[in-house]
Amino acid sequence: MAIENLKCKECGATYDLGAHFACENCFGPLEVAYDHSQLDPAETKRKIQAGSQGIWRYADFLPFEGRPGDPLEPGLTPLLRADRLAERLGLDAELWIKNDAANPTHSFKDRVVAVAVAKAQELGFDTVACASTGNLANAVAAHAAAAGLKSYVFVPANLEEQKLLATGIYGTNLVGVRGNYDDVNRLCTQLAETRPWAFVNVNLRPYYAEGSKTLAYETAEQLGWELPDRVVCPIASGSLFTKVGRGFQEWLDLGLVEGQLPVFNGAQAEGCSPVATAFAEGWDVCKPQRPETIAKSLAIGDPADGPYAVEHARRTNGAIDSVSDAEIRDGISLLAETTGIFTETAGGVTIGVLKKLAERGEINAGERVVVYITGEGLKTLDATRDRFRMHEIDPALASFEAEFRQEVTV
């Protein structure tokens, strides 16, 4: 098999396949390195198609020897045509929604956590942990429960109630930190030094991040082994954005798909837009911000992969845009009204940016566009309050007719 080592993305130094995440020479992030030269494209394709109905059908591209036992396998979420949304946006494009809310805990985080928890078990940890803006908390608590591991989940204490409830119910140690996500993340980085735990997005981050590539593989497979021309993807830490790119690139390199990398459009909330700001300013680092947005799942003021996300957008002739809280709410409604998909605030950010691109005329006629919806609307209910009025009536025909003042025709 083809997993080689952990390799620093900055200086190229290599490390063994243990629980390491930062380079000792330059602090750069470590990434799993593979050698896929022995894979035959036709055979690989057949193996994938005969594989399980989730992310482990792509086991050859994940950091394991064979398929780990994962009782809560995520993935193979629907890729849906969104013609009515395209029409509302005035687009003459082939628009698709990848609805990743259709995962076990209703966000794309099930993908990364499935990989990290399997790696934690392989490395002999009995406790998993994470620093989370909410969706990751849900996923770590659930996957730990399914795997029979102990868990500690650290979140900002002021998180949405739905995300707290959908974490605590799994029997985890839910820790609300009085601070923002970046405070939580710093605390967890310090705890990871002394506790013998697998922090999925700290010491296991190189493996965890690999799970996001499965979104790219699924997209290509569901499009009939073809690539989109453009993707629109939310950015928090920047890991999903860059790993979706890596997934497409791996399949291009292997010859499983043809063509070139899609244009990558990143989406952030104005109230937390360090990556969009770095892109606009032409910086190669992100200046940290103090988040102030309803899109709490994207509220990372100091994004670990921000510099790589900026580079990736530039390299693919893409861009990174941001939208206001009002545009986020409008985006949630627009997606719901035209596709039947109810997304959380992060999805509102992504749809808001799609709308911006449409208004700027950046999406060409006939382009095939895939939009990544990464989370579920029922987790961020506050964002959708006061968007409509319920008609309340008595259980009587007259009451209904009075409310709707309908003309009766025979």
Binding site: E10, F21, A22, C23, E24, N25, C26, F27, G28, P29, A131, Y181, D182, D183, N185, R186, C188, T189, Q190, A192, E193, F199, N201, V202, R205, A236, S237, G238, S239, D284, V285, K287, P288, R290, I300, D302, P303, A304, D305, P307
Partner: protein, 90 residues
Amino acid sequence: MPVTVKIPTQLRAATGGEAELEVSGTTVGEVLDAVFEAHDGLRDRITQDGDLRRFVNVYVSGEDIRFQEGLATQINDGAEVTILPAVAGG
């Protein structure tokens, strides 16, 4: 003034295994210079061309120095300086 500097696991090979260093200085820059004087191997790991490397975070008593005055951030008596990798989270 005396300052405690917390060294992350990744850098302890360069400090002979020490997790905390006691140095003195009035700004973050002075404190880091004192750290480099004691353990020269740390300089290139943390800085490049006189600036912090892009994946190095430095905190003074829990506060990211990029929200303060960067390397010119003043150190108060009893403050703790923490160096951490920036590549966690998300």
